[in-house]
Symmetry: C2
Subunit: 157 residues, 2 copies
DNA sequence: ATAATTGCAAAGTCTTTGCAGTTTG
DNA sequence: CAAACTGCAAAGACTTTGCAATTAT
């Protein structure tokens, strides 16, 4: 099952003139195994090195770039300093709610964005990339934390 | 007018125990002069150096960090590799539509997000930071470009 | 065979940090 | 004066690139 998915993806790579190498196979398998986790390049290196200890970072970046061009992978900037990669094919459609205070990432159903997407299309002729898009804000815990500290700092009413 | 705004901001800094230095004054003035432009740390360095040639990058980062803590400035990650900073006070409420193909940034009215924000609050107990939150997708030009190249590559119907 | 890919090492960008000297309140 | 800030230089995270050796087709 998992292998079939990997092979199907690798076949697209081959069809586009690319070569299927063991490194690339391991990268794709790592991403499939990761499910919907948001893997950084470093994550992938770590996973692949379990099978191939000499696997090098530059290979990840070059392969991810290639896969992105082919539309197989989508890079998403959830937080500063760490681009994460989604396997488009594997991901259920979802969004990310990123808490800017604590960094927690909540996955939300993508259809939340449907109304917004059509508004944006109409008003700005802009096609929203709704899948995997990061939305920023504050999670419940951080809102409470903040309210609590405000209360402590300013013990008025 | 402009000076008053700067002084008001600097006063908040002073009230919080910070010191108002000429470097910080120049940083704030640079951001005010930038209006709603999205200034990167490097942009600010460049502007400030016109008045103070020895002004150093580390000072920008430290000052922006401080101003962010005070809620005076908001960092936004529009594209990978370049955090931009908004002066909260100065910005009219807006969003950014970021074209992932060509990097164009369109400013959109923030109330587009109102419906989404209340949905997210209800469904996920998450408070969207609607202002200055970047939305990703493709601008009109890039959609056309893509359609054209598809037509060229696959001259079917 | 030959074009694509890899490992390696070096460099590049953006940002952070430690420290000693300077400035602000 | 004491605490905060600055310049400087060094380092850190993440990513890119040139090149010779290797590998897929």
């Amino acid at each position: 099952m998992r292998d079939l998915k990997a092979e199907r993806i690798l076949e697209r790579l081959r069809e586009s003139g690319g070569r299927v190498t063991s490194a690339r196979r391991l990268i794709v398998e790592a991403m499939l195994a990761g499910g919907d986790h948001h893997l950084t390049a470093a994550d992938i290196v770590e996973i692949v090195r379990r099978d191939d200890p000499v696997f090098h970072e530059s290979t990840v970046y070059r392969t991810l770039e290639r896969l992105t061009e082919l539309g197989i992978v989508r890079p998403v900037q959830l937080v500063p300093g760490a681009t994460v990669f989604h396997l488009v094919e594997n991901a259920h459609r979802h969004n990310h709610l990123v808490c800017d205070d604590c960094g927690t990432i909540i996955e939300a159903r993508v259809d939340l964005l449907d109304v917004l997407a059509s508004d944006v299309a109409r008003n700005h002729r802009f096609t929203l990339q709704t899948e995997a898009a990061p939305l920023h804000g504050r999670c419940e815990a951080c809102q409470h934390a903040d309210a609590a500290s405000n209360r402590a700092a300013d013990p008025a009413p």
